[in-house]
């Protein structure tokens, strides 16, 4: 929260929730826990080790041959339950902030449902695969839309994603390529909106911390869009329109990225920016780490910094990201164990 003296007013509405959240944060697995997990031989051992951590008996009712998908599902469920426990008790402006945090999941669910509908899958089966944090009303009726305009007019105008659709309504058909473009356009509009909200309306420590995290997210997306677009039919102008403009790569880095042709030119484009040069260097030096891993690691370090200060909203966002990383780590370790490929089991990203 903003203005000087926000320390003395913050606890009125949000002190209790911040304290609960910090209680959850103490339950994030430490590096000692991860070492124990990597030494497990089977998934049963993994379940036993996890039951002595904050996860407790979350897999208690599952029958014996465990699958990694089940572990992932239950770990995500724990994360969702914790987030929801805080979300329902929040008042303004924290409630709006937490709503913003759920929008990316809505965007992902939307794209999942449309893609599934195009491939003529059953809607109820798809809804089971959707992320619980991104549910919105009228999900079941997404199958009736065939053009983007119908999609917007009939269904999405009632959801919170409506203002982000302004840029996409001009597209004609819902093809596979178009859907990816829709996802990126929506995400760009969402990131810029969220950034404006944090910096303009909330201000203060929240703006400082969330601003840094969101700028990194924007730049990371720009780099990923560029790297993924090599070899597809996406033209350079269209690619440039998908880059979010709030990051530190704007304007020169984004201009160079828009003109890039291969991985070399991308590395040259971001060469002037210290953080990204360092991350590309890490990815190039260690053969086991990909660029994505380096990005995740940097995101984890930014989120850890959010917990250093009190009386701001950044901790809520940071906790969600750290918990997601933890779920990814557990799933990675579980996969390595179940496939008996323990060579790269230490590729998880330790958090605390």
């Amino acid at each position: 929260m903003g203005r000087p003296g926000s320390m003395i007013g913050f606890n009125v509405d949000d002190g209790f929730l911040e304290a609960i959240l910090r209680g959850y944060r103490s339950g994030i697995l430490s590096s000692v826990d991860y070492v124990n997990l990597t030494q497990c031989e089977t998934l049963e051992d993994l379940r036993m080790h996890l039951s002595s951590t904050d996860y407790g008996n979350f897999l208690q009712n599952e029958p014996s041959p465990l699958a990694t998908a089940t572990i992932a599902e239950y770990a995500t469920k724990k994360l969702v339950d914790e987030f929801r426990a805080i979300h329902v008790q929040a008042v303004e402006p924290l409630r709006t902030f937490l709503n913003y945090v759920t929008y990316p999941y809505m965007i992902d669910n939307l794209v999942l449902l449309i893609t599934g509908t195009l491939q003529n899958r059953d809607v109820s089966e798809l809804i089971d695969k959707c992320h619980p944090l991104g549910m919105f009303n009228s999900m079941a009726s997404l199958s009736i839309a065939s053009t983007v305009e119908e999609l917007y007019r009939e269904i999405l105008v009632d959801t919170p994603l409506a203002p982000y659709f302004a840029d996409c309504v001009s597209m004609d058909d819902l093809t596979d390529v178009n859907i990816e473009i829709i996802r990126n356009v929506l995400y760009k509009a969402y990131l810029e909106d969220f950034y404006q909200y944090c910096v303009k309306e909330l201000g203060g420590t929240t703006a400082e911390i969330m601003g840094e995290i969101l700028q990194f997210e924007a730049d990371r997306r720009a780099i990923n869009i560029t790297l993924n677009s090599f070899g597809t039919s996406l033209s350079k102008e269209e690619r440039a329109k998908l880059f979010p403009t709030i990051g530190e790569l704007e304007p020169e880095g984004l201009m160079r990225l828009a003109k890039a042709d291969d991985a070399q030119t991308v590395a040259l484009a971001i060469d002037g920016y210290g953080t990204f040069r360092r991350l590309f260097q890490i990815a190039a030096d260690t053969p086991d780490k990909s660029l994505e891993d380096a990005f995740f690691q940097h995101e984890v370090s930014l989120c850890k910094l959010a917990f250093e200060q009190q009386f701001h909203y950044g901790v809520f966002y940071a906790y969600l990201r750290l918990k997601e990383q933890e779920v990814r780590n557990i799933v990675w370790i579980a996969e390595c164990i179940s496939q008996k490929q323990k060579r790269r089991i230490n590729n998880y990203i330790p958090i605390f």
Partner: protein
């Protein structure tokens, strides 16, 4: 056009009307009984101190209650922070009682100095305790959260709180001298 009119109006007020009335205004101020200043001072002493104490208690309390959900062991030790805030209110009560005794001791028409002195005492003690309560509240909240994560931090942050609570004591000392 309009700003010219308002500036003419205000310059007439300040340079025309007020100086003529000035001697009367001062005697108006002078004739306020010292009793009213003294009792106002007493009210401020207790009122604003309690505001500071209450503010500090809710800042600490909300964090303490939330953090104790995951870490119940912190409840008893962290009540010390709440007690520091409460002490601030007690300082205010003590000062108000002392001031009230001084008021009832005065016979007849006391001097203007006595009245102004008690008013200033009230203000000093009140505001010192207000900011002390706020400081101890914020520190107490951080103390509760840090203790929940790592028990070794409790005593260290308590030392910061002790310094904060000294602020209220300064106010009381100066108040008594006045």
């Amino acid at each position: 056009m309009e700003s010219e009119g308002t500036s003419v109006f205000w310059s007439c007020w300040f340079f025309g009307f007020l100086p003529q009335c000035y001697p009367y205004w001062w005697s108006l101020f002078e004739s306020i009984s010292p009793y009213s200043f003294a009792t106002l001072g007493t009210a401020l002493a207790i009122g604003i101190s309690v505001l500071g104490a209450a503010w500090g208690i809710f800042i600490t309390g909300s964090s303490l209650v939330g953090a104790a959900i995951k870490a119940p062991r912190i409840q008893s030790k962290n009540l010390i922070s709440v007690i520091f805030c409460e002490a601030v209110a007690i300082y205010g009560v003590i000062m108000a009682i002392i001031m009230q005794t001084k008021i009832s001791e005065a016979e007849g028409t006391p001097s203007a100095y006595a009245g102004y002195g008690l008013f200033a005492t009230g203000l000093t003690v009140g505001f010192a305790n207000l900011f002390c309560g706020l400081a101890v509240g914020v520190t107490g909240s951080s103390c509760a959260l840090a203790d929940a994560q790592n028990p070794a931090l409790f005593v260290k942050i308590l030392i910061v709180e002790i310094f904060g609570s000294a602020l209220g004591l300064f106010g009381v000392i100066i108040g008594i001298i006045m």
